[in-house]
């Protein structure tokens, strides 16, 4: 290792990570008058160069599926903005024997908000009171009423479309008007109405009206490619620029945090990080620290910050850092809808993602499982892509004119459904430090332990049954690969696949069973905050990003107050 370079400057706050939590904190803290340095493990994002908006498949020789067709049937493709990966060369993670966990990481300014589906759902009051409601898991140390003003602030600033619906499981927010439904969505809504399933405009962080100098959406459905007009939300395009405008913001890219260094007084005083360009270790000093590296990466940093004062890792006297790891329950299926064959050619693109969705609708009765799920769906006449005609080819077989015509007839007649449900934390699902393996920078890596419980599997079963009834009520043919047994009972995804990891440094009022207080401040070290999904006590059936931003905003305002009082 090269020499340790000491930075003489002491910032007010050092933020580790530039995603939903880090970006929000950077904006609020700098606008509140504090000087901020941010460490981001990846490179800067350059929309002009990195975004592939409006490119046709035939403009790329691999038609979007990359060298050797490696993205055929995969999450990514050549069109996507650079936004993250399941595997990063030189930065492994491991799964304990018998566990299957997948970890999607983004190393780029904006983090996973570049990849985010922009689904912006508030948690419901009941989501903060899990144990009081059904005896499982724990209550949060805060209530919906305490978080609600921060949801207001986030929604007003980033722009979220939606409608007021008065559904108890899905509180209304401050919404821009939603786009009209697509054909696929009108068909499914009709079916849901018959089945008494709520099917309402989705809530997405995409502008339908201009806001703060950002243009309204132009309805190309390509959010995942990155949006040149910043009409959808990403931390890199919406949170970082106002922080930079204050003149109090320093961004260090290519900086992989290794350890939070604690002084003799027991307070954190600096972060030791690897400057990837030179592979040398550097330090940055600050009066307070906001760990916002994503739930698992933040847990890893705390666990790797071991000293005689904190032998089990920083802020971990409770031993619960890494514990209570959850992800959403995911299961999917689809259907073929003959009525879509007869649709005249029309523009079906819309915003990136769904215009309607199904919030949890059975909150008023007893079910075969605790908690609930929502349903996302999509399909129809999108831009044709490689791999899309496989099922039609399999169905028709043969060759020639009839195959060609059949592909056109069946194009856009498929609608896919994905359930997203609540996992209750369990003892067998957590992450710790792998005792044997370090990454290319010498930083010990995470090891994942994972097991679904019966409750989640029952939920996945229910999802499949619901998908079937929605498809069949709409006159479609149900298509699903889910089986009741095997490694993925009822199609339940492996842990981590839904990319909603939460809970690894949870907040609570008891320092013996939680890591953070209700302001995301570490019980053990009062100048360390963890503001990302690690702080969550439950993982309800709502995509967590909006709540991550609300909690980061709240923690940042609290930090500013504390700084003014001189109590950091």
């Amino acid at each position: 290792m090269a020499q340790v370079v000491r930075s003489p400057k002491v910032y007010d706050v050092c933020i580790i990570g530039s995603g939903a939590a880090g970006g929000t904190a950077a904006k609020v803290l700098t606008e509140g008058g504090l000087s901020v340095v941010m460490l981001e493990a990846g490179p800067p994002l350059n929309p002009e160069k990195d975004f592939k908006e409006h490119v046709w498949p035939y403009q790329l020789p691999h038609r979007g599926v990359g060298v050797g067709g490696e993205f055929r049937h995969e999450l990514g493709d050549e069109f996507m903005a650079p936004n993250g990966a399941w595997e990063i060369e030189g930065e492994p993670y491991t799964s304990a024997p018998g566990s299957q966990f997948h970890w999607f990481r983004s190393r780029i300014v904006g983090g996973r908000t570049n990849h985010w589906g922009r689904i912006a759902l508030r948690f419901a009051p009941v989501d903060f009171r899990a144990r009081s409601t059904d005896g499982m898991g724990d209550d949060w140390p805060i209530t919906y009423e305490e978080v609600s003003p921060f949801y207001d602030k986030v929604e007003s600033y980033i722009g979220v479309f939606g409608t007021k619906e008065n559904i108890p499981s899905a509180p209304d927010g401050i919404f821009q008007p939603p786009p009209l439904p697509r054909c696929t969505e009108t068909i499914i809504k009709k079916s849901c109405d018959k089945l008494n399933i709520h099917c309402v405009p989705s809530r997405m962080a995409i502008l339908t009206k201009p806001l703060n100098g950002r243009a309204a959406c132009h309805y190309c459905a390509q959010c995942g490619r990155g949006c040149i007009t910043a009409s959808n939300f990403s931390s890199s395009q919406v949170m970082i620029p106002p922080a930079q405008a204050t003149g109090r913001f320093t961004l260090i890219t290519g900086a992989m945090a290794r350890e939070i260094v604690v002084g003799k007084d027991g307070k954190a005083e600096s972060v030791a990080y690897i400057d990837k360009a030179t592979r040398s270790e550097k330090r940055v000093h600050a009066r307070a620290f906001m760990v916002a590296a994503s739930a698992c990466e933040s847990a890893r940093l705390l666990l790797n910050s071991r000293t005689t004062l904190f032998p089990d890792g920083l802020a971990n006297s409770s031993g619960v850092v890494g514990r209570y790891l959850t992800d959403s329950v995911g299961s999917s299926a689809g259907g073929y809808f003959p009525q879509l064959e007869k649709m005249p050619a029309h523009n079906h693109d819309g915003t990136g993602g769904m215009h309607l969705y199904m919030p949890w609708w059975r909150y008023d009765r007893k079910n075969d499982f605790l908690r609930g799920y929502h349903i996302e769906f999509g399909g129809g006449r999108g831009m044709p892509g490689v791999g899309e005609f496989d099922w039609i080819c399999k169905d028709h077989e043969g060759y020639g004119a009839s195959l060609k015509q059949y592909c056109r007839t069946r194009y856009g007649t498929y609608i896919g459904f994905a359930g997203r449900g609540e996992m209750i934390p369990n003892e067998k699902s957590y992450c710790d430090i792998d005792p044997d393996i370090v990454d290319q920078f010498g930083i010990p890596v995470l090891r994942f332990h994972w097991q679904w419980s019966e409750n989640e599997i029952n939920m996945a079963k229910d999802m499949q049954e619901t998908f079937r009834s929605i498809v069949e009520t709409a006159g479609g043919t149900f298509i699903s690969r889910a089986k009741p047994d095997g490694r993925h009972p009822y199609g339940i995804e492996d842990g981590g696949v839904i990319i909603h990891e939460l809970g690894t440094a949870r907040m609570g009022s008891n320092p013996k069973t939680s890591v953070l207080n209700k302001y995301c401040q570490a019980h053990d070290v009062n100048n360390v905050f963890v503001t990302d999904g690690a702080a969550f006590v439950t993982n309800p059936d709502k995509n967590p990003t909006l709540t991550i931003m609300a909690l980061a905003w709240r923690a940042s305002e609290y930090l500013i107050e504390q700084a003014k009082k001189g109590s950091l």
């Binding site: 975004f51 409006h54 020789p61 038609r63 309805y219 029309h346 769904m354 996302e376």
Partner: protein
Amino acid sequence: MAPNSISRRDILKTLTMGAMAGSVLRVIPAQAAEYAHHMVATEKAATTAGVYAPKFFSPLQYKTLQALCQTIIPADGESGGAKEAGAPEFIDLLTSENPKYQLRLGGGLMWLDAECSDRYGKPYLDCLPEQQKEILDLIAYIKHAKTDPAVSQGVEFFAFLREMTADGFFTSEIGIKYLGYVGNTYLLSFPGCPPVPEA
């Protein structure tokens, strides 16, 4: 942070058999896409009159590939076929980079020629149209893999070639036009859905 809500991936996943199992999902940096784009553009410009020089298949095999692609998705009164859509170029490029495709498609083409030689004494391209039709009618249907084990490898090969040909055709300019996809543009507001016929 769910992958773009329900994404193309979710849809493909429920449609494809086992494609996800054990696969390593990766996203490439955009520069790689740009690089690939320029690479083939340069490749084309370098050859005379912009004719694509196959990178994996031998000239004769490439001719067979072109013929098969065009048979799978032929030209008709409305549009050109897979050949005009650049499907053979697309397939050759990907195959040149992927050892598994080399086995399935490169090996598959050799299987086809060997089978035609056994049956008709000539490689596929030299066979009479009715002979070509006879062998294709055998390998174009999965039921024949069960009834006639001698052609099961051919059935597997042809199924994959059919999918790759459809990929190449329906992601081309003429293929997208043939499908009637409307979009990839800038709209001031989203118009919603024209009336949907009953199921």
